[in-house]
Symmetry: C2
Subunit: 227 residues, 2 copies
């Protein structure tokens, strides 16, 4: 078969490729909550056998993005309030602790990269490019974990972000929320620069509390929409 693949996917295993494709579709709601995942169909579409599709779905199930009912079917997980809140809990736990460590060891190089990211966020937002803004948002948070060399934690963070992304995409952002987010991001970098770990941790806590409040306003609608 040996189909042509995008360069970035060249040396990925088929399982990882399938995982990436499905995960993106779920996060972006192309596959909405409740949608059935037919292995045979997915395998055919992506040009692989059922085995890597099963492996990918197992992994998504472990992350909570897919519900598997043995001998019945696999479905995109519903957006449950409890799951969303726990995802935010995990984010808060990991990211405040990360800030605590980063503030104590941030060097000039890292600070510069963070500042560059903030500049790019500012530009993206002024141009009204929300998709790029959110990508930079994710990159900023990832840079924090890169700086303190906690790759496994970064992976857990990414898993925790997925449920939150789905909520964000289900409702339009509140008026002025992206601007407020940018302000909070600036505060995060300033807090890292200060070298005060308590202050850095509280800046992240404040940021995620704001994220939590924004999400809580959306949850009732979502719950109502599909039980």
């Amino acid at each position: 078969m040996s189909q042509i693949l995008p360069v970035e996917d060249r040396d990925l295993s088929k399982t990882e490729r399938v995982y990436g494709v499905l995960r993106r579709r779920i996060r972006e709601l192309i596959l909405p909550p409740g949608a059935p995942l037919r292995k045979e169909e997915i395998a055919l579409e992506l040009g692989v056998s059922r085995a890597p599709v099963s492996d990918a779905i197992t992994r998504l199930a472990e992350e909570g993005l897919v519900d598997v009912f043995p001998q019945h079917g696999s479905f995109v997980a519903a957006i449950r309030s409890a799951d969303v809140r726990e995802a935010l809990f995990i984010r808060a736990a990991l990211e405040t602790e990360a800030m605590r460590q980063l503030a104590l060891r941030a060097d000039a190089k890292i600070i510069r990269e963070l500042d560059d990211n903030i500049a790019a966020q500012t530009k993206a937002l002024s141009q009204g490019n929300l998709e790029q803004f959110y990508d930079l948002d994710e990159a900023l948070h990832a840079m924090i974990f890169g700086a303190i060399e906690k790759p496994r934690s970064l992976r857990l963070l990414e898993a925790a972000r997925a449920p939150l992304d789905r909520v964000r995409r289900l409702a339009l952002p509140e008026e002025g929320r992206p601007e407020q987010t940018l302000t909070e991001h600036r505060s995060l970098v300033d807090a890292i620069r200060s070298g005060d770990s308590e202050y850095a941790a509280s800046a992240m806590r404040a940021h995620l509390s704001a994220v939590g409040r924004a999400i809580e306003t959306k949850l009732p609608d979502i719950e109502a929409a599909h039980g």
Copy 2:
């Protein structure tokens, strides 16, 4: 084949059964760091095919307990300082945040269960039953996540504990460390009882800092032992 299985494993999938067996052997160092995991052999021993063994090993690899070298073999992961420190980082992040929440909502029933656990720890330690003491230790930490209803976080915690367990088992406990641990556990429960979330978080931070110091004294030996 239909072999007789322990009751507790009755309704588990074969993958989960294999996962549990391998995980326990790795944590308890029955399978030491570097040991090869021969799928065929394991499959034969446990009376299953290679498929569930492969799935179980994939899962262990995601937790960092196994290193997989494609087309070469799968081996019990070496105990790397960076991994151990990150595991403790994750524990600190999740458990301090959990304490923060639990202090705000702990009711009498939960407090009673925690007190019962402490009593059992005291008894186990006075009898010199260290294995039971460590089981109760793990149960205490698990109860915290049960109380705040964060099942996914509990799972992450359990994954984070495994590398730390391996370190603990590789070296005898320092003189008096178990007694000190019990004292810290008492402080944790007292902190929860106080209802002060900052105090509760700092009690957990203090406990895990002590765990960290105990582990750091052992790491050099371990590093030296097997690169």
